[in-house]
Symmetry: D2
Subunit: 347 residues, 4 copies
Amino acid sequence: MLKLGIIGATGYVGEEIVRLLARRKDIEITTVVSNTFEGKPYSSVYPSLRGIFDKVCEKLDIEKIAEKADFFITALPHSVSGEVVPYLISKGKRVIDHSGDFRFRDVSVYEKWYKTTHLAPQLTKDAVYGLPELYRDKIKNARLVADPGCYPTCSILGIAPALVNKLVSKKGIIIDAVSGVSGAGRKSELAYSFCETAGNFKAYGVCNHRHTPEIEQELSLLADEEVLVSFTPHLAPMKRGMLATCYLDLVASGITTEEIRDIYFDYYRNEPFVRVLPAGEMPETKNVAGSNFADIGVMVDQRLNKLIVVSAIDNLGKGSSGQAVQALNIMAGFNETEGLITPGLYI
Amino acid sequence: MLKLGIIGATGYVGEEIVRLLARRKDIEITTVVSNTFEGKPYSSVYPSLRGIFDKVCEKLDIEKIAEKADFFITALPHSVSGEVVPYLISKGKRVIDHSGDFRFRDVSVYEKWYKTTHLAPQLTKDAVYGLPELYRDKIKNARLVADPGCYPTCSILGIAPALVNKLVSKKGIIIDAVSGVSGAGRKSELAYSFCETAGNFKAYGVCNHRHTPEIEQELSLLADEEVLVSFTPHLAPMKRGMLATCYLDLVASGITTEEIRDIYFDYYRNEPFVRVLPAGEMPETKNVAGSNFADIGVMVDQRLNKLIVVSAIDNLGKGSSGQAVQALNIMAGFNETEGLITPGLYI
Amino acid sequence: MLKLGIIGATGYVGEEIVRLLARRKDIEITTVVSNTFEGKPYSSVYPSLRGIFDKVCEKLDIEKIAEKADFFITALPHSVSGEVVPYLISKGKRVIDHSGDFRFRDVSVYEKWYKTTHLAPQLTKDAVYGLPELYRDKIKNARLVADPGCYPTCSILGIAPALVNKLVSKKGIIIDAVSGVSGAGRKSELAYSFCETAGNFKAYGVCNHRHTPEIEQELSLLADEEVLVSFTPHLAPMKRGMLATCYLDLVASGITTEEIRDIYFDYYRNEPFVRVLPAGEMPETKNVAGSNFADIGVMVDQRLNKLIVVSAIDNLGKGSSGQAVQALNIMAGFNETEGLITPGLYI
Amino acid sequence: MLKLGIIGATGYVGEEIVRLLARRKDIEITTVVSNTFEGKPYSSVYPSLRGIFDKVCEKLDIEKIAEKADFFITALPHSVSGEVVPYLISKGKRVIDHSGDFRFRDVSVYEKWYKTTHLAPQLTKDAVYGLPELYRDKIKNARLVADPGCYPTCSILGIAPALVNKLVSKKGIIIDAVSGVSGAGRKSELAYSFCETAGNFKAYGVCNHRHTPEIEQELSLLADEEVLVSFTPHLAPMKRGMLATCYLDLVASGITTEEIRDIYFDYYRNEPFVRVLPAGEMPETKNVAGSNFADIGVMVDQRLNKLIVVSAIDNLGKGSSGQAVQALNIMAGFNETEGLITPGLYI
């Protein structure tokens, strides 16, 4: 039985991980850490889990916590991870970190976009970017996996096949994406209150969202040269779900939607969680909400010789918690899909 | 031109008042008071009003503010009103107060349910309960009008005709009511965040909501004996709107829905903002959202000899801001419906 | 491996059953029947199930369909069930029917409220009302189980402990309840379109909803005398979830919320899917959405000597599909909770 | 008093026009035409208007209807307009048509994208594209005004100042836009039902939406050469509101957000309904919902030398009904802003 600790357990990412793991027979969550809710049963924070997961939250006493498990998932704000993770690693623990702290190969990129000094730069070179579709083998033996951001997961999965197969230009890539409100975390900020959010749609972080360099890092590695992207996130009045519409310039003319769809299908042929839709169909977030799937649809605009790729995930599924569990399965040698091949909640 | 000051102007009740009055030619809003947003244009707090109402918010310096207008609407928390209103009255200003502070004829009832000491008990005996359908004449000359609570407005309008016409028992009245989230005010509390509220329905304040004694006070006055009610409020995932379903025991048998509908229609025959629906129709909140109307439907359950009354208002319209403007129109000698006969936003 | 056919498989009740069973190793769904979608893969109707359940829908050729399975769940409109179920029973199949057709012990009550002639009255006397908390033993060997209505499930579970323990009067019971929109089924009716429903709240079926006699039948059996209820359903702008607020008159005075809470807790001590909340807590639909749980909270109003019971379920979980699966587990001799102890989707 | 007839009056566009005009003293709506609701009071179709606009709907007997007014607004499906409008014009009526039928200068473009034969090509050359910000003078004396599409209005207003001022390339323009559900009209289609739409986000009409050539026509006229755009619409779970994010390539480097903001501000300096936001602020649909405003924000991405323009309108306001009323005011010689400078419903 794998012993797992979750640090920063009472945010939405933490809750989704507990939801996914609470009934697993091969994993025991031995500690849920939350300074805010110390001493309270987890199920009093999330009453949906009453009778299913009632363990009491503990405060972050890192020495004491570290002894409780062999694997840790840290769902902490950036910089806070930078304080906690090094100790866990030093004690031989294996860690999946959900912050931005260990996603960047180049510490200076991180420091520029996050406007802070990296607290544990020594760990970044061995950290593995936790996107199984790109780094499955490295995840297997990683000590430290950086769980990718939601927008990067959604965007990279949508663009990778076109880029790797040299179908599209590496220049001028535009990613217009939308997230449900849970992507902002469990926050008591006015901007995320019901009356300010319901029935409203807006762009945010225009030209400066921190997921931009993360997307660029991974696309550049796939393209084997520097790729820059224009990325604009939006907030939609829904709890879960993320959709990215990617605009790519085709390098050759005459290729059809069907042909590209087949190339995409081949690329993800063995991926259990990526579903390439039939030509002519486009994803909707309701088809992936509550699941670990990514649905991808493609369309060639022959008038403009552009490829439009639409990619949908659940920001709390493949966009964070589901993907963390997928990485955990890989690291632990479990079946990669264990506990994850669950259909979403269409309704 | 009537000069009006709004104190506590940047909450939702304040914003709705500004929205209703900003284009009036007979009223000038001379000051909007908000300690939180002092020095900021009102339209930076509510960008919907950009170019329409850009006045800068002022802090609550009561002596300075009092000089700015002849009429004041105070949309402050209870007890805070108790501090501010006496000064305004002492300076000869006429005030519409939206808190619970001046709604009760019996100070001890207020103190028991609000669990606090009343700060200005001397003002309560002359304060007028600002429900025009019951107290139009008194409002006309009142110095201090207590803007009724949203649930009381919705409930009293629904029950009054039955009670006054002695159709129903004064015992065993049950009011089951629902509010949109704006009823909680503009708050950055987790419980009102989008992710905690969207798709969710719950009861709250069960057996102890402060609007209970307010409903009882007015129903008792109508019935000329003490009336107690069982009142349960609920929160629905919508921004605006309130609906009360009232269960009343008919005193005689054999009376039909049509007959009661006609009695209700007669009772409100001259009321510009109460719409009694045809027999067989029931109100929906979308028909009153954004307006000052109250829609009322009735149905006799002949099996049980009960009368079911369903009453709908916009909690920000007839439930607070619209009603305050209606009272202001009456106090100022304007046409009572001035600026208020606007259809709601069905969509 | 149990072979199961689902007839009327492409409505929301059918979809939720497929979602719950698609990954079960002890149950094989051998046919999904839908005249509307005949010949189409189930996952083209519900793309959330792509790659998980792709079986092609069949038309309702009852003789052919009957041969395909040993158990059937029929999610058909009332009267249509009355045509289909008798044939299945005659072939020795075991059936869980989700319509109102077999829920009534007295055919005349059904015919009065459903305004139709019962097509298979001979089956009603052996049909078992499929609420495991009341009829677990009978369900075990039943040939025909009538899956209860959502409102009756929610109401009966909330009232039963008080009634059985003679805490409350059998007279004057009032049930004010709210449903999410999926309760209306998968319909292309204007009244359920997004723009007509979002942000709106209304009562419907006032004094004549068909779930009234179903609630009364079961409460009467529990009380051992005729119980009539005043039941008013409402529609809230959310997809899933149901909440009933029940108003009951206590027969003795002085009993506390804590005492009643303990009586409720005892009553459901061995029930895996009923969670009685601690005194002072009240259920919210988000805590049960996506699950088979019923959450119940109680509160004594000592001023009025009333008991307020609030009960929450997912109308697609314990209110229909989850409960059908629970009954299926019991009938088949599986662990009753198999595949059902999943936490809901809080977010 | 201007006499106005509304044909196709009971869709959402029609309802919003009635809402905007019902209380006007200078306009009388003399007929509301709806074959579906013939003989029913308009306020029974939209009970929000009960007591405000109770006129009975008439069927479309064009000869009889034409006599009832001097101005007509036709809110009909394309091709249906093509049948009705010519008769009205032949009788000397002035018409604002909301369909796509008269928006195109080149009939062949219409016929290609709408996949139909134009029924009244002779009228297209004198029809005026009803965007006052571009064609105010022509609208003044027009016999036939083609009310622009919602996406074109939102996109053109956002891009025009950059194009006219030659700040950006005419190539490679990308418009990623989002609409609320009311944009689809009042339809009883499953795809727009609450359960299929709430909590869901999707792209639709990818590479083939009919508003594409309409945007291209107007941008080409502004640029004085052919402009093609990549346009992708999306559906968000909200009733009202539209937001377009436009990606444009700056032709020179070094220009700042502030400079471009000032150019935009100047361009719309005299426009009563276009609000250019301060540099650094971005529009949200809640700030324009229920109003006739268009809010525009700009941001330079200096890394990529791109201009991002975000533009927001209410699809039922500036995107259709409000704009039609604006055009009507201009045609009739009323103050252009009459009845339209109303703040939106922030909440």
